[in-house]
């Protein structure tokens, strides 16, 4: 509609474009690319286009269309790039999982991943509709902290799966609460830091050349953060604890501009990583494996997961073997989840990996942009935090499977098999879009703003 008639305010001034049609066009691509990839897998493996390609395309298209229509109504000025990238990554992830399902006839994961994606879009819709203004989220900061901590403690009472106690299980149904807790914690951090950042910046005492804040200013957030990281270490979920740590340090630095936080953070993380890496056997073995991924081959035990993953990337080379034509299933049980990137590396090559990383980079960049344009400190910090979470998660996972850093076992956002992850990340995108919608909205208020929660320093 905006193509034909420019929207104006009541005073007749032109409104900035909503870019919803741009989003629609991008979404068409975001659906067509995975559909093409899906057909490609069928052609490569069976010489024919899978009969359910149209059904799959319609399903994905419908999900995306629902999300798009909701955006038109509830966040008309939202960044038009976020939703298409999320849809494209989710669609590609479904294709990759479907492709790996072909190698494991007994363990089909694509259909359940599609179901989780649908639930993710429902959560996206819920955020779109329920969160009229992102600032309302900040009101529930302490509740959020409590919920997050509770979610994270629960898996301690469940048995470890593959060495990490990060799951809540009920029959065939399993959840990874650490994934859900990550957004809730970022909400809490953002809310708390938004309220205290002035104090944190101004008041403090120097200690060893570093300006340290008063305990009562930083105390609660530090306590929650220490508790969460502590729980994760107990649960041996090193990837997620590193994620929380990184996101928190980034948010603290952005909020207070104190380089000292980064120094302290780096010292803490180094000490922590060293202690845990050398003392805890599960982690220690992963560090060893990172230092020499091929030790088990030399020992005559055959290649481990990381070695297999490196073989995948190497086999892919620059252009890749082609979708459906690689052997990334050799990675083993985590091929569809933690190691999904190995399939991308082998079948789409360095080109595909680079394209994928650029997609994530765009997502992160747009997230930061949403933060820059947000009218309030809480919104900015929330956007920065969520973007940093995305960036760090991508770094930890991709760095782990390519042996840049030790393997910690997390899922690639949207791409990997894992219900909790997909659902959480859809909610994350919804929040970012809400924030960007508020930031890009014309200054002349279209509707009455909700009362600001403790917003002093906007």
């Amino acid at each position: 509609m905006s193509r034909w008639r420019r929207r104006t305010t009541a005073a007749g001034e032109p409104l900035p474009p909503t870019r919803r049609n741009t989003e629609f066009l991008l979404l068409v691509f975001a659906v067509l690319v995975p559909v093409f990839a899906y057909a490609n897998v069928g052609l490569a493996r069976h010489g024919s286009i899978p009969p359910d390609t149209a059904k799959y395309g319609l399903g994905l298209g419908l999900l995306v269309l629902i999300a798009h229509i909701l955006v038109r109504f509830f966040a008309p000025y939202a960044d038009p790039v976020l939703l298409p990238i999320a849809a494209l990554l989710n669609g590609l992830g479904l294709v990759l999982i479907y492709r790996l399902d072909l190698e494991t006839p007994k363990a089909q994961a694509a259909s359940s991943q599609l179901m989780w994606s649908a639930i993710g879009v429902i959560l996206f819709a819920a955020v779109m509709i329920a969160v009229r203004d992102h600032r309302s989220v900040g009101k529930y900061a302490y509740l959020a902290a409590a919920v997050a901590l509770f979610l994270m403690i629960v898996p301690v009472f469940f048995p470890a799966i593959n060495g990490a106690k990060v799951w809540i299980r009920a029959g065939a149904f399993s959840l990874q609460p650490g994934e859900f807790a990550k957004i809730i914690l970022v909400v809490f951090f953002a809310s708390y830091l938004a309220r205290t950042r002035e104090t944190l910046m101004m008041i403090g005492h120097r200690f060893c050349g570093v300006n340290l804040p008063r305990g009562r200013d930083l105390g609660p957030v530090l306590a929650v953060w220490l508790a969460s990281v502590g729980i994760l270490v107990l649960e041996r979920d090193l990837g997620t604890s590193f994620l929380y740590f990184g996101a928190f340090v980034v948010m603290l630095y952005v909020a207070t501009a104190r380089i000292g936080w980064i120094v302290v953070g780096l010292i803490l993380i180094s000490v922590g990583a060293f202690v845990v890496g050398s003392a805890e056997p599960h982690v220690h073995s992963r560090v060893q494996n990172w230092l020499d991924p091929f030790a088990s081959i030399h020992a005559g035990l055959g290649p481990g997961q990381l070695a297999q993953s490196l073989f995948c990337f190497a086999a892919g080379g620059l252009l890749g073997a082609g979708l459906g034509l690689g052997h990334s299933i050799l990675v083993g049980f985590a091929a569809k989840s933690d190691f999904i990137l190995a399939t991308v590396g082998e079948e789409l090559g360095l080109t595909g990996i680079a394209a994928l990383l650029v997609l994530y980079a765009l997502l992160v960049a747009r997230g930061f942009r949403a933060g820059l344009t947000a009218p309030d400190t809480f919104g900015s910090l929330l956007a920065y935090g969520l973007s940093a979470v995305l960036a760090i998660q991508v770094f930890v996972v991709a760095g782990g499977v390519t042996a840049l850093i030790p393997l910690t076992g997390m899922t690639m956002p949207f791409l990997a098999q894992g219900g909790s992850s997909v659902v959480t990340n859809w909610a994350l995108i919804a929040l970012l879009m809400k924030i960007s919608d508020r930031g890009r909205r014309p200054l002349a208020p279209i509707e009455e703003p909700v009362p600001l929660p403790e917003e002093v320093h906007a």
Binding site: S296, H327, S380
Partner: protein, 489 residues
């Protein structure tokens, strides 16, 4: 806060660059190393992803490539028709233990990785699409192969047979016993592992290709080489003139007396000495000519060639490097350190039958694409001129005497000209081990015709005291069966 946020975004960008840099490092620089690491199963999976090409005997495949697995993993297996019969030709192509013999040497053709198989090699390199596997057509003559196999099997002993076309060098039969079924070790399952362990641990070494890869003391069959040297060097001008040879012959510089199994060897003529296989005459001739002359003659027949390939690599046969005089005497009758593969002794018979020219032996007639078009054919090639043609013809007549009036009577074929030489090789400490029975021969349908076949037979025998009779009694009938099979071709 905007400045710090931009810095944080910049930090995220750094993380991304680190990932990209590392991915490039792994996928572009380290790729080749990882691709060839021992734990990486991709090469094997790719190898068995499409049907393997066939090895052909008389245009009929003796191998198969059945689809075995459901998934991509080792999809096509390997099967063999008449596995034990053709194992010395084909070797094995095992998903666990690699390849051997023709399966190994021509692997690029059979696996479809040879760039010559594709129509557009450059495009193939980019698209990584493999061509359909090619086939390997062998020179084997099924009737000769079967005759050799049956003959050896009937003795119940270990042994080998090689038959050549003397005029081309084409290998018509290549048999080694005991044999094995390569199909048993072709898969990747428990059965294949068990079969491999059994074959690998078998003291009779069934996987050893005795025709190409085992050297034996050639015994009296080597006297043909000594005779060739004597005639070619002029040491013996007329094979019918008596030599001056005592009986027994005292080995030079020793107190050892070398005797004969046959009578009438004192001052025997070269012809008679070959016919009844006098040790003394040939030992003394070797000493008279000297080790160097003997060595050169042996080399001219193909001995001491470490690069001989058919195209399967052949273990070099040896004439001792610098033997002293008594060692030269023994070496000249095929004892001491003289060792020869059955293929080498077949080449000796073939060289003489082919009027002195030794043709390069070959096992592969041609390599073809999936559609039957030729990738590469094999041209006949001269390996060496062993002796001048007149000398060769004299030797032919002498070898024919061995069959008509001498020790090789068991190889006589009605209506055909057959020349041969028996041999029994002593070996082991103090020659106590069971001797090897040898027979080398050639045959042609008529006196003026070209020779059709040359053959060497070795049987790791049991009877120690029958001397040369063993070669004639045990090995000659097998040679006769093989030659008969080729003559009726």
């Amino acid at each position: 806060m905007i400045v710090t946020a931009r810095r944080a975004a910049g930090f995220c960008l750094l993380l991304l660059l680190a990932l990209l840099g590392n991915a490039t490092w792994v996928q572009a620089y380290r790729a080749d190393t990882y691709d060839h690491m021992s734990g990486n199963r991709r090469p094997q999976i790719v190898r068995y992803q499409q049907p393997r090409g066939d090895i052909l005997v008389a245009d009929a495949p003796i191998t198969g490539s059945p689809h075995t697995a459901e998934s991509f993993d080792l999809a096509y297996g390997r099967s063999y028709t008449d596995g034990p019969l053709y194992a010395p030709v084909t070797g094995y192509a095992s998903q666990l233990y690699g390849t051997s013999l023709l399966e190994g040497v021509e692997d690029d053709i059979l696996a479809g990785t040879d760039p010559r198989l594709g129509a557009w090699p450059v495009i193939t390199a980019v698209t990584r699409r493999r061509a359909a596997a090619g086939n390997v057509a062998t020179t084997i003559l099924p009737a000769a192969q079967q005759a050799a196999f049956n003959g050896l099997a009937s003795t119940g002993n270990k042994g080998a047979v090689v038959a050549l076309d003397p005029t081309t060098g084409a290998i018509l039969a290549l048999v080694s016993t005991p044999s094995y079924d390569p199909g048993a070790v072709a898969g990747a399952n428990k059965g294949a592992r068990a079969a491999w362990a059994a074959l690998d641990g078998d003291p009779d070494r069934p996987m050893l290709n005795r025709a190409l890869r085992e050297t034996y003391p050639p015994g009296s069959t080597f006297k043909v080489v000594t005779a060739a040297a004597a005639l070619a060097s002029g040491t013996v001008a007329d094979p019918d003139q008596p030599t001056t040879t005592p009986d027994p012959y005292p080995l030079p510089e020793t107190h050892t007396l070398l005797g004969n199994e046959a009578d009438g060897c004192r001052n025997a003529s070269l012809r008679y000495a070959l016919t009844v296989s006098c040790n003394t005459v040939f030992a003394k001739l070797g000493v008279d000519m000297g080790a160097e002359v003997m060595r050169r003659q042996a080399t001219a027949f193909g001995f001491d060639d470490p690069k001989l390939r058919v195209p399967v690599a052949v273990t070099p046969s040896v004439f001792p490097k610098s033997p002293d005089r008594p060692q030269t005497a023994l070496s000249s009758i095929g004892q001491f350190d003289t060792r020869a593969t059955p293929l080498q002794m077949a080449m000796v018979a073939a060289g003489i039958a082919n009027d002195g020219e030794v043709m390069r032996p070959y096992l592969v007639e041609r390599l073809t694409r999936h559609d039957g078009s030729t990738v590469r054919g094999t041209e006949r090639q001269s390996l060496a001129r062993a002796v001048p043609a007149p000398v060769a013809r004299r030797l032919q007549r002498m070898m024919q005497d061995v069959v008509t009036t001498g020790t090789g009577g068991n190889a006589r074929i009605d209506g055909a000209i057959v020349g041969g030489k028996t041999g029994t090789a002593q070996h082991g400490e103090h020659n106590r081990a069971v001797p090897y029975a040898w027979f080398i021969a050639y045959a042609k349908p008529s006196p003026d015709a070209k020779p059709t076949v040359a053959v060497a037979v070795v049987v790791e025998d049991g009877a120690a005291d029958r001397a040369d009779i063993t070669g004639g009694g045990l090995a000659a009938p097998i040679a006769k069966a093989v030659m008969t099979a080729t003559l009726s071709r």
